[in-house]
């Protein structure tokens, strides 16, 4: 089946405005009769729930943390893009659109990206009005910086805490609606299944993480804003609780999963220190502005950095990519780091690391300037590693960071299940095969503040009708399925921890479906995942019972879903027999190791339909047309 993104026709510049005019509205007095479920309280979910509440809908919002303010969005550091052109440096909606499509290596839908670029400006207005303390210039106007190699300064930021500050803005808006009674917030409550009535998403089944209470919730429409699945690699820059459960459960109920193999690896993270490692910490990309990346020229050189003379160092990014050097894009820098470590030239105890050296910059600018620019990052590095980066070079290594793939959505951000809308990192929509820095925050807030209210209204107005009764058979059956699955987890009664399985799955994914992939490895991985899943259901130890605060049970359910989803990811990577963006297939590279895209055969979105656990999912394609940005090869030489 060929999928239709339902992009309206017309000039791209006025597409969204025209479409908004064409969509149906709901009378203000009627809005409170409609109930909407929003799962997730990160930037996407909190902004959506608050906005829907302001409009007068009856909203139920869910998150698994103890407070909506702790959603993973809180951890974003660098900034948020917008096409304001406050710096008068040639930026425009068109340029942001262009950069995003190109950065995504031509695997995203033009119309969605154009809308995102248009909306970006309104996001900054909204957040400033909420009291988000953005960085400012002496004159009191907003400051911008250039981020991730962009040629214009369009990134707005709040020191190294842009995510937390934007989230607190959205959380404030959400709190205001909670106080007004339009939003009911359910924290420490996890979605475990989606409920369909007559093929439409009409409710969810949840587990209360404190009491274990299983509950049914019905609504006129459901919005998922549950974030990305980068934790499938076990070690990632994501928070420990990030998971695929909500989107995977929706996938099992019929929502197509798009481009799962587009996963982003971030080049500058603190390397693994030992087998106890539970997560990896991102060091801001901005460090690459002044740090020089190198490894010893000789394999197995065990000397301390200071003892390696200049001529025995390999500044490999500067050597291979003279134009961009240490600022080469994320995917290219990551792969280059892996390559030198694979050759046995990595540094640090475990040999999986490269130096990010500030000695030259300190010599040139002085330690004070470097402290001013990166002081808190250097402090954080020292806290974690116990090493002083003013004296010895930092060590960095790539880590799983962001997932471009997600549930397939059309132009209205509706999935293949009518009534189920998906926003933020949970959908696949705007970043193609590779996301640019500072664009995820923008997308989450664009979806939540400015898109979803119009499109959900259109869905509800086109499908009016009462909120279904939670005693209906569909709800009872879904609840029973959830209960059976929990019981099954508790009944295994083995002796291996959930974490040990997660770690093993992560190792498989990282080895065969991480920074570079090939057909043979992917096939092997699919077999290994299936086998690991079987062992999980025989050997896992989940103590206690459902009716209590049960950490193992909570994690067990999430890892069980990862153990199914991992195969989908590998099938997608296997199917996409080209290299593009973050997806690097070793079979498709130029003689000097650059990615070779294949637009003839793969200029489409791959959307997968669930066909049973352990079965190959069915592929559906949404062809991508490029009418406004010319298909071109990325080159950073």
């Amino acid at each position: 089946m060929e999928l239709d993104g339902k992009v309206p026709s017309g000039p791209i510049e006025s597409l969204w405005d025209d479409h908004r005019f064409d969509m149906k509205l709901i009378n203000p007095a009627n809005k409170r009769k409609y109930r909407i479920i929003v799962v997730g309280s990160g930037l996407a979910g909190a902004s959506a729930a608050a906005t829907l509440g302001e409009l007068g809908y009856n909203v139920d919002c869910f998150c698994f943390q103890d407070s909506p303010r702790r959603a993973h969005s809180v951890a974003a550091q660098g900034g948020i893009n917008a096409a304001k052109n406050y710096q008068n440096d040639g930026d425009s909606v068109r340029r942001l659109f262009f950069d995003t499509v190109k950065g995504g290596d031509f695997r995203s839908r033009e119309a969605n990206v154009y809308r995102l670029a248009q909306i970006s400006n309104k996001i900054i207005d909204q957040c400033a009005a909420q009291g988000v303390p953005f960085a400012r210039e002496y004159g009191g106007l907003l400051d911008n910086r250039s981020f991730g190699g962009a040629q214009v300064s369009r990134t707005f930021y709040a020191r190294g805490q842009t995510g937390q500050q934007l989230l607190l803005g959205a959380y404030g808006a959400l709190n205001r609606q909670i106080a007004a009674g339009t939003v009911r917030m359910h924290s420490r409550v996890e979605l475990l299944d989606l409920v369909l009535v007559d093929g439409h998403a009409k409710g969810i089944i949840t587990r209360h993480l404190v009491s274990g209470r299983i509950a049914r919730w019905a609504a006129n429409a459901v919005v998922l804003a549950t974030g990305g699945y980068g934790n499938i690699f076990y070690l990632s820059t994501n928070a420990m609780g990030c998971n695929v459960t909500a989107t995977y459960r929706a996938y099992r109920k019929g929502a197509f999963f798009a481009n799962p193999c587009f996963t982003q690896i971030h080049p500058t993270c603190i390397p693994v220190a030992g087998e106890h490692q539970s997560k990896l910490t991102l060091m801001s990309e901005s460090l690459r502005n002044d740090g020089r990346i190198w490894v010893p020229k000789a394999v197995g050189d065990g000397r301390a950095a200071a003892d390696i003379p200049e001529e025995e160092r390999d500044y490999y990014l500067e050597r291979k990519y003279p134009a961009f050097g240490n600022l080469s894009p994320r995917d290219i820098s990551s792969r280059a780091a892996k390559e030198v470590c694979d050759e046995g030239r990595g540094v640090g105890k475990l040999g999986r690391g490269v130096y990010l050296d500030f000695a030259d910059a300190i010599g040139r600018l002085g330690e004070d300037v470097i402290r001013q620019r990166y002081g808190n990052l250097f402090d954080m590095y020292e806290k974690i590693t116990g090493e002083n980066p003013y004296r010895v070079p930092m060590r960095i290594y790539p880590a799983s960071h962001y997932t471009m793939g997600g549930l397939w959505v059309d132009y209205n951000l509706q999935s293949t299940i009518p009534g189920l809308h998906v926003i933020g990192e949970a959908n696949f929509s705007d970043h193609g095969a590779n996301r640019l820095g500072a664009s995820a925050l923008m997308q989450g807030l664009a979806d939540g503040y400015f898109v979803i209210a119009d499109t959900v209204a259109h869905y509800i107005a086109s499908n009016p009708g009462d909120v279904p009764d939670t005693d209906a058979a569909e709800f009872r059956e879904a609840e029973q399925d959830v209960r059976d699955r929990i019981q099954k987890l508790l009944d295994v009664d083995g002796s291996r921890s959930v974490d040990s399985f997660h770690r093993e799955l992560g190792a498989i994914m990282w080895e065969y479906c991480g920074m570079s992939r090939n057909a043979e490895g992917l096939q092997k991985a699919i077999g290994m995942i299936g086998e690991l899943r079987e062992r999980f259901w025989r050997e896992v130890s989940i103590t206690g019972e459902n009716e209590e605060f049960n950490v193992s049970l909570e994690k067990g359910g999430r890892v069980a879903d990862f153990l199914e989803f991992g195969e989908v990811l590998c099938y997608d990577a296997l199917n996409r027999d080209e290299s593009c963006g973050a997806h690097f297939r070793e079979e498709h590279q130029t003689p000097d190791g650059e990615a070779k895209r294949n637009d003839e055969a793969y200029a489409y979105v791959a959307a997968w339909e669930f066909k049973g656990v352990g079965q190959k999912p069915e592929l559906h394609k949404e062809p991508l047309k490029f009418e406004h940005v010319q298909l071109a090869t990325r080159s950073y030489k």
Binding site: D66, S67, P133, Q164, L168, R213, S278, G386, A453, S497
Partner: protein, 267 residues
């Protein structure tokens, strides 16, 4: 890594099955701990052993493990977030401990933070205080251009200093009165320092302070323990600023009516 580099520790941990059961300190061994581990990774090691032996793991809150989500909340040797200043428990590393150390680990203790299990407490009272007014009332879509209202750089920086609060509640846990004054003051001052926060400034101070009382947090009697443990270094002078706003609004405002108490949704 060679054996000399690892350490063996004795942990005394608060275990409590649920809010209704009594709790007690239980002793565990944590052996072979590497100095490179974070404090929470050390607990992971202990939990791995418990789970493998079929015993319930020690429950503790955590998520980002990088000092920004405010979820981790351990009192380590009597100090919220432990011995290292300006550091959350998740960023505290084991190289700050020695082989043979005894470490006590307890939950945040405050009337407004009932224990859920072991080291996990219910902090929704903090959310409810902010629901009483910790925001600027601006509907989506109604904002003027972001540069229409310039903000002096110093004010923006000071507002940021206040906004850096991660809402962990260490200030409450450290305070002999279990007061949330530093938490409330940080939010109030972030907004009071910005032009966008002016219209609701007085109403905000009154409503949040009242909500804090209602939730069972104590008052501030200038112990300054909060500032000492705050992982983000929020200064206590914001409390004095909040008190000024509160007094001024109590004296001048007529139409500020107390909000009805906030209620949590059923779940």
């Amino acid at each position: 890594m060679n054996d000399e580099e690892t350490m063996d520790l004795r942990l005394h941990v608060w275990r409590q099955k649920d809010s209704k059961s009594p709790g007690k300190m239980v002793t565990y061994r944590a052996n072979g701990i590497s100095p490179d581990m974070s404090f929470l990774e050390m607990l992971d090691v202990v939990n791995e052993e418990l789970v493998t032996a079929g015993k319930p793991p020690i429950a503790f809150d955590h998520d980002c493990r990088e000092g920004i989500c405010g979820m981790c909340s351990l009192v380590i040797n009597g100090v919220p977030h432990g011995p290292q200043q300006g550091t959350t428990a998740c960023q505290l590393h084991m190289r700050h401990f020695r082989h043979g150390d005894e470490i006590t680990i307890e939950p945040w203790r405050a009337r407004a933070f009932p224990v859920i299990r072991d080291l996990v407490v219910d902090r929704r009272s903090l959310d409810r205080v902010l629901q009483a007014g910790g925001y600027v009332s601006v509907n989506t879509g109604s904002a003027p251009d972001a540069n229409a209202i310039p903000v002096p750089q110093d004010n923006a920086e000071a507002a940021f200093d206040a906004a850096a609060c991660i809402g962990c509640g260490a200030c409450v846990a450290a305070c002999p009165n279990a007061s949330a004054s530093l938490f409330v003051a940080a939010k109030a001052q972030q907004l009071s320092l910005l032009p966008q926060g002016q219209p609701e400034r007085e109403k905000r101070a009154i409503h949040m302070v009242e909500a804090m009382d209602r939730e069972g947090f104590g008052g501030c009697t200038n112990h300054y323990e909060c500032e000492a443990v705050c992982p983000k270094g929020i200064p206590v002078r914001y409390i004095a600023d909040l008190n000024r706003d509160f007094l001024r609004s109590a004296l001048t405002s007529r139409e500020v009516k107390p909000l009805p108490p906030a209620v949590d949704a059923e779940e």
